[in-house]
């Protein structure tokens, strides 16, 4: 076999071998990081004048015993991600799906919060929390790995049977 023939053959074999491999990184292999599941509305809705806003928040630390005001500032700063207003999907007795896309990290407190008064900077309360068990009220942390969408993050909202409120009264 002549050298140039050997070179051509070797190159061809290498090319064929490597052509059979995948093409490496593929953008379709990743999901936008986030979580989703259902919200079950147990019990009646509050009157419209006390249901001024309804959102899902994902707090990247335990906000237990935290003053409310710094917390709302973190929401405004984007440290605590929140969903769009979900009042339109709130129907008593119904279970509705939701999704939320955010940065991959661990969120220690995921909750549905209701604005019950005029003041958007202070008049909020927690009406549902993501917990390990549906009957439980202990917050369950959730890790969102990079490029992963986590399913089955289900929350029950009961406007007249509230979970423990995390905020400390100043």
């Amino acid at each position: 076999m002549r050298p140039i023939t050997l070179l051509r053959t070797g190159t061809l074999l290498l090319f064929l071998f490597l052509s059979s491999c995948d093409k490496g990184l593929d953008p379709s292999n990743v999901s936008e990081p986030g979580f989703g599941g259902t919200i079950t509305y147990a019990g009646p809705l509050p009157p419209p004048d006390s249901l001024r806003d309804l959102r899902i928040v994902a707090v990247p630390y335990y906000p237990i015993d935290t003053l409310f005001q710094p917390l709302i500032m973190k929401v405004l700063d984007g440290v605590i991600p929140f969903s769009a207003d979900i009042r339109s999907s709130a129907v008593p007795g119904m279970t509705v799906p939701y999704t939320m896309f955010l940065k991959p990290k661990t969120y220690y407190y995921i909750a549905v919060v209701q604005q019950f008064g005029f003041d958007p900077f202070s008049q909020w309360k927690v009406v549902g929390v993501y917990t390990a068990l549906p009957s439980d009220t202990i917050p369950q942390s959730l890790r969102i790995p990079d490029g992963t969408f986590v399913h089955d993050v289900n929350i029950t909202v009961d406007f007249y049977n509230l979970p423990p409120q995390p905020f400390r009264v100043p």
Binding site: K23, G24, P27, V30, T106, D146
Partner: protein, 733 residues
């Protein structure tokens, strides 16, 4: 044209020419003993003097001032046995030197392993060499591109790993020491290697020593040493030029497309070298412009290089080398996300980085007798870089100076061997908005004794004491020993054992970085309590020449690392922010082996080689695999060469990085930063020389990553796609 260029340069250098002295001359030609072909680039030195030159493209040499009493020449060339030949010194004499080819570099003369010249087969540690020819074949424009093909070497983008020693620390601190002509060249502020500042067209060869090397070279030589040796100054007028241009292929996926125009790269370089009596000069300039295959990843780069050598006498020489490097580039730290893999994260948008680096070194060598010589070296390396927004807002800036002075003596004692001793001093000064204003000082004493009782056996032992202090912080001292034994039962067969220590003092960047503006949401906080990190390396290796055209090398290695400095990212509840600092946290163990096979076929027109390196690196406390280290690194190379035509192919494989810093990915954040794959890269090349047609020009075409494999060496950073480069180079002598 050719004469005109020479005349212009000679006129410019007239004062030097006039200063030159006339003396007896010797000229001749160096050929291969195997086929009679001339050998270009061979080093020809009047034995036991500083007088020498390199052969031209026709294998010819001329030494114009031969000292009285010296009538032998020592000739060395990559891939050949060294030769010592006599000459008479009579007028008109032309010496013909025939060099015996050595089986695949085994007899190549190297200088890094023991700080003196010896053949590769004699050194007691594993070494690899990259010759200038390999740079030309691959059209290498940056040193790191060539190092990727060295067995056991891998990269995390621009950070080099020798046998998985380094991991990744975002460019702050290097566990591999870079030398230029034997002098350390790490930046004064971050202690990192700036590969792009190396003038690749002036490289004669690169020597890579694996394992801890601090016993000779001090701080930084934790995982190995890379020594860049610049070309010899030509004995006769020599003008070379090079032009190249190319383009990147379209992105593989529609979602990655960010530009409607072809992304181009091009570069030009030219140089001149000559000797005028006792004065030799080599000078070159080069320019590179790259549009970049990623958005905001463009660069413009300029280099100017000057080397002056003056023979004060046949036994004394002074060499002064200067290198100026200027670069402007866009800032691209990591991608926006995998769907936008060729766009930077929003936080890096519209930011550019400008850098100006300048290093000057002077080396004085004196052969006092046949037994004793000494060399004094001093180098100053200035780095000046800044990041600013396109709107002109200055973000980060640093000016650093690093000075290293070294005095080394070599004494050869009959019956005992070679003794090497030296003293080194270092001084660093940094003025930066992110590092603060700081100075650091260091000093070291080193001693090495080689002993060769028989041709078959040799041993070396060395010890170095280093004292290092950053102003305002406690000083640190380190004692780093090494031993090595070589046994060669027959020519071409060598077994080696070596053990050595390494250490690295933390850089000013690691100690004092403090910023809220690093292109990420993380706050970097100072880490002034850092201690030097240490390593102990052990290696058993063997090389066997199976035939005149086949050579095999194998090495088993084991390294223990203590107090490795690693960046720590965490969420600070008090600051309500992500913080990053450096800590001595990791106690690690890295073990592995390396296999290499070099072969020559079909009257040596075809060279084929294969390398495999296995690394097992674990955290000694947790047992977890070390972050940013590949387990498998392999490569296969094939090269066909004849006088006018050559072609070749390389395949490189790096296994998927098993462990990364998940916290950094999640908190920085590097969206989709966990996405990584094994690297499969195939490069093709071919070249043609027009010399037969009377044109001293060679054309080369390289197609890199021809399979268009989408891979990343570093989290959040897509490596170059398929790209083609066409280059033309010429040599006028």
């Amino acid at each position: 044209m050719k004469r005109s260029i020479h005349h212009i340069i000679v006129l410019l250098l007239l004062p030097i020419v006039l200063a030159a002295q006339s003396a007896p001359a010797v000229k001749g030609i160096v050929r291969s003993a195997e086929d009679g072909m001339p050998i270009a680039g061979a080093s020809v030195v009047v034995t036991r003097t500083m007088i020498g030159t390199a052969t031209d493209a026709d294998g010819r040499f001329e030494i114009r001032s031969v000292p009285e009493g010296r009538r032998t020449l020592t000739i060395t060339s990559l891939g050949h046995h060294p030769a010592v030949v006599p000459f008479t010194g009579e007028e008109g004499e032309e010496v013909t030197v025939l060099l015996q080819p050595s089986p695949v570099q085994s007899q190549t003369v190297v200088v890094t392993a023991t700080r003196r010249e010896q053949s590769l087969e004699e050194v007691p540690v594993s070494m690899n060499i990259i010759g200038a020819q390999e740079f030309e074949r691959r059209n290498t424009v940056a040193l790191d591109d060539a190092l990727r093909y060295v067995p056991g070497v891998s990269f995390q983008q621009s950070q080099v790993n020798i046998r998985a020693s380094s991991g990744y620390s975002r460019g702050v601190g290097s566990r591999v020491l870079l030398l230029i002509d034997g002098v350390p060249l790490l930046t004064g502020d971050t202690g990192e290697i700036t590969f792009e500042a190396i003038p690749v067209f002036q490289i004669d060869r690169v020597e890579v020593v694996k394992g801890a090397g601090s016993a000779l070279y001090g701080s930084g030589a934790l995982g190995g040493v890379i020594n860049v040796l610049t070309k010899e100054i030509a004995g006769r007028p020599e003008f070379w030029w090079r032009m190249y241009g190319g383009a990147y292929d379209e992105p593989a996926y529609e979602t990655w497309k960010w530009s409607n125009t072809t992304r181009w790269l091009n570069g030009q370089a030219a140089g001149y070298s000559d000797t005028f009596g006792d004065v030799g000069i080599a000078a070159s300039v080069q320019r590179l412009s790259d549009d970049g295959y990623r958005e905001q990843d463009w660069l413009r780069r300029y280099n100017a290089f000057l080397k002056l050598r003056y023979h004060l006498s046949p036994y004394q020489s002074l060499t002064v080398t200067s290198n100026l490097f200027q670069q402007y580039r866009g800032d691209f730290l990591w991608w926006k996300d995998l769907k936008n893999a060729l766009r930077p994260a929003e936080s890096q948008r519209d930011i550019r980085v400008s850098s100006l680096r300048f290093n000057t070194s002077a080396a004085y060598t004196h052969l006092l007798s046949d037994e004793f010589s000494y060399q004094a070296k001093v180098v100053h390396f200035r780095g000046n870089w800044y990041r600013d927004s396109l709107a002109g807002k200055r973000l980060d800036a640093s000016i650093s100076d690093a000075v290293v002075a070294d005095l080394q003596g070599n004494l050869s004692v009959t019956g005992i061997g070679m003794m090497t001793a030296g003293i080194t001093g270092t001084f660093d000064r940094v003025r930066a908005n992110i590092f603060g204003d700081h100075t650091a000082n260091g000093g070291a004493l080193y001693l090495q004794q080689e002993y060769q009782p028989t041709e078959q056996w040799s041993a070396v032992a060395g010890l170095r004491y280093d004292l290092h202090q950053v102003a305002g912080l406690p000083s640190h001292s380190q004692v780093t020993p090494k031993v090595g034994v070589r046994y060669s039962p027959a020519e071409g067969h060598t077994i080696r054992f070596s053990a050595g220590s390494g250490f690295r003092a933390p850089s000013i960047g690691e100690l004092y970085t403090s910023t809220r503006n690093t292109g990420s949401a993380a706050i970097i906080i100072p880490s002034v309590g850092l201690q030097p990190e240490r390593s102990e390396s052990y290696e058993v290796s063997a090389s066997h020449t199976l035939s005149a055209s086949m050579r095999m090398e194998a090495a088993l290695f084991h390294s223990d690392y203590d107090g490795l400095i690693e960046p720590q990212v965490q969420e600070d509840m008090a600051l309500q922010a992500v913080t990053l600092n450096f800590r001595n946290i990791t106690k690690a163990r890295i073990q592995g082996f390396e296999l290499s096979l070099y072969t020559l076929w079909f009257s040596k027109t075809v060279a084929a080689n294969a390398h495999y390196n296995y690394n097992w690196g674990v955290d000694a406390n947790t047992g977890a695999f070390l972050r940013f280290r590949p387990r498998h690194v392999a490569s296969i190379g094939l090269q066909y060469s004849e006088e006018t035509y050559s072609a070749g192919a390389d395949y490189r494989f790096v296994s998927r990085i098993e462990a990364i810093d998940e916290t950094l990915v999640n908190l920085a954040p590097v969206t989709n930063g966990g996405q990584r794959v094994a690297n499969h890269i195939v490069d093709l090349r071919c070249s043609y020389s027009f010399l037969d047609a009377g044109l001293p020009v060679r054309a080369t075409m390289n197609i890199n990553n021809i399979l268009g494999y989408n891979y990343n060496e570093l989290i959040g950073n897509m490596s170059p796609p398929r790209h083609i480069v066409l280059s033309f180079e010429g040599l006028i002598q």
